[in-house]
């Protein structure tokens, strides 16, 4: 019985552990008042803005990175990448220091362009490929005008992707907590199922047991070749990884980047 109890307690610990993994931020977090949401285009209500600001602080602190949102009507019609770079040079954001770790999402409402840039730690962890993934995730919501939802996704995905080492695919199925939980449930179910099934004894004879090998055998066989069919498929080239998306600001800060429209 003692052994059972230890197994049960192990189970309890696992449950708590799991709950912690699935709902990581149920604990209240003191929000910083440092501004991270620069909504010059006025897409958000005051309430949404402060909510997103708190959220960006909370998640950014865990990755030691400022997660910034910058929207602009851009009446001068400037380029979105240039806007982002100038914003970084002028505002000098950064979690660790001025001009430090930061990721910036810029919305240009004039051209309806979007640009994502990662600086320093964020440049290392959010390369062009990962920024592309984030951009692809939020673009549909931006197109629909659901800005708040898109910004929330941006903050959460940034946080998530920065948790993986650079140069691995962040959407690898093995990193998915639900895949891990589901996989463990399936393995447990299969193993216990087999144990229960086998508890009543199993058949241990095969054809070999009763086969009369001296008189059995293949009398005649034929393997006739008919034809060969060949299909071909173009190999998808991974484009966009490389320095194409990123650049260097006028102030000399190099960054990764991803650009698109919505």
């Amino acid at each position: 019985m003692k052994r059972h109890r230890s197994v049960w307690s192990l189970l309890t610990i696992l449950m708590i552990f799991t709950a912690y993994l699935v709902f990581p931020f149920q604990m209240a977090h003191a929000a910083n008042d440092n501004q991270l949401i620069y909504d010059e285009a006025g897409l958000l209500s005051q309430e949404d803005k402060s909510e997103l600001n708190a959220m960006a602080h909370e998640y950014g602190a865990k990755r030691e990175t400022d997660i910034i949102i910058f929207t602009s009507d851009n009446p001068e019609g400037r380029d979105v990448q240039e806007m982002t770079e100038d914003f970084y040079d002028e505002q000098a954001p950064g979690y660790d220091k001025a001009h430090g770790n930061a990721v910036i999402l810029t919305l240009d409402l004039y051209h309806r362009d979007i640009y994502l840039a990662g600086f320093y730690k964020a440049k290392q962890y959010l390369d062009d490929g990962r920024l592309d993934k984030i951009r692809e995730k939020i673009t549909p919501d931006l197109t629909d005008g659901d800005y708040k939802l898109a910004f929330e996704k941006y903050i959460k995905t940034t946080y998530k992707y920065m948790g993986y080492k650079p140069d691995v695919n962040p959407d690898n199925i093995f990193f998915n907590i639900w895949f891990q939980l589901g996989g463990a449930v399936v393995i447990g179910g299969i193993v216990v199922g087999i144990m229960a099934y086998r508890s009543g004894g199993r058949v241990t004879v095969s054809g070999r047991t009763y086969e009369d090998a001296s008189t059995s055998g293949v009398l005649d066989h034929q393997d006739r070749y008919i034809r060969t069919t060949t299909t071909k498929r173009k190999i998808e080239k991974n484009t966009g990884s490389g320095s194409g998306g990123g650049g260097t600001t006028k102030g000399g800060h190099s960054h990764s980047g991803s650009r698109g429209s919505f």
Binding site: K165, F175, G188, G200, T204, V218, T231, R233
Partner: protein, 343 residues
């Protein structure tokens, strides 16, 4: 009188079959007779087929109560081992028998050991102290010799993938295949008793056929035996069914080296060359647990135990939790090693 007893020529007590020595032995004076050398009283007997409904014990004269299938039992009144000879002769005469090698004490011990090894059985069951009854039983089996002529036609493919330039090529070679196979199986056992669960009996196999002996009734002394309820023709479909998967596996083993095989035509012609009526030794264990009855069977030669034991929900849950935990942590570890965060 269709009732046979084996009286000791020395002291007159009833003799029984002894599984340890394989001889007919007298529990009183210790006399042992080699069964293969003594004349079988069954063969000497000359009785008319009068379809006797009632048997009387030759020792005490009491009526022997039996099921209509029973061919050997013990007198419920005086305990003498009796064999009902009219149920073992004529059409009902077994050709061969495998005698018991596991004694009752060994069977109980082996059963207890088996119970202790159950990973999911409740701990109350594992002590195995509630054996309600254990019976040594010669179960009627038909041993079939089955000759099969197999002809199969099919379509097989070999797939090769390679890349050249910007393209990935999938090259599929198609083949027409044909196999003609002769496949003979000998001594395929099918239990012929209505009472016995077919699935349970199938799991008891294999029986050691090198121990097969020409049937002599003294082997049954002290045990229960049954006559067959179904003849070899009636059970032929079941025999065919049983070897079907063997045949499929054999066919598959002759078609190798392909990526995929599909059969367009499969002709299996099974012929029953011979079917021998045999008695095979099985210990039946009846067990009481939490007001339910459980029946187990044990191979009387190899000691293999089969039968569904009760399953403890708590143990299933505990095992599941343990395996779940280990798998989950392993998957986490894999993800961590691949570069994902651990938390």
């Amino acid at each position: 009188m269709p009732v046979i007893e084996y009286k000791c020529p020395n002291c007159g007590s009833g003799m029984v079959f002894d599984s340890a020595t394989g001889m007919l032995s007298c529990p009183s004076c210790g006399r042992k007779d080699n069964i293969e050398q003594i004349p079988d009283p069954l063969k000497q007997q000359d009785f008319s087929e009068d379809n006797t409904q009632e048997y009387h014990c030759t020792s005490c004269g009491a009526v022997i109560l039996t099921d209509p299938e029973t061919s050997a039992t013990t007198c419920s009144f005086c305990g003498s081992a009796v064999v009902l000879s009219d149920r073992l002769t004529g059409k009902l005469a077994p050709a061969m028998v495998i005698p018991f090698a596991v004694s009752k004490e060994e069977a109980v011990k082996a059963f207890k050991k088996w119970c202790r090894n159950g990973l999911l059985t409740p701990s109350g069951f594992m002590s195995a102290d509630r054996i309600k009854g254990i019976t040594g039983m010669y179960v009627p089996f038909w041993l079939y010799e089955l000759h099969n002529h197999v002809e199969v036609h099919g379509h097989a493919t070999k797939v090769r993938m390679y890349t050249s330039g910007d393209y990935e090529y999938t090259e599929t070679q198609h083949f027409d295949i044909y196999r003609k196979i002769r496949l003979n199986y000998v001594k395929v056992p099918i239990d012929a008793s209505e009472k016995m669960n077919d699935g349970l009996m199938d799991k008891l196999e294999p029986f050691p056929y090198e121990r097969l002996k020409e049937f002599k009734s003294p082997y049954l002394a002290g045990y229960n035996a049954e006559k067959y309820s179904y003849d070899d023709e009636a059970l032929f479909p079941r025999a065919k069914d049983k070897i079907r998967e063997f045949i499929e596996a054999y066919i598959a083993s002759t078609v190798s080296g392909y990526t995929a095989v599909s059969y367009t035509d499969k002709q299996i012609d099974t012929e029953s060359k011979q079917a021998d009526y045999c008695l095979l030794p099985v210990w039946m264990v009846h067990y009481d647990f939490r007001k339910s009855n459980y029946a187990f069977a044990m191979n009387g030669q190899t000691g293999k135990v089969v039968g569904k034991p009760p399953i403890s929900k708590a143990k299933v849950a505990a095992w599941f939790a343990g395996i779940f935990g280990v798998s989950f942590l392993s998957l986490k570890l894999i993800s961590w090693m691949m570069g994902g965060g651990f938390l």
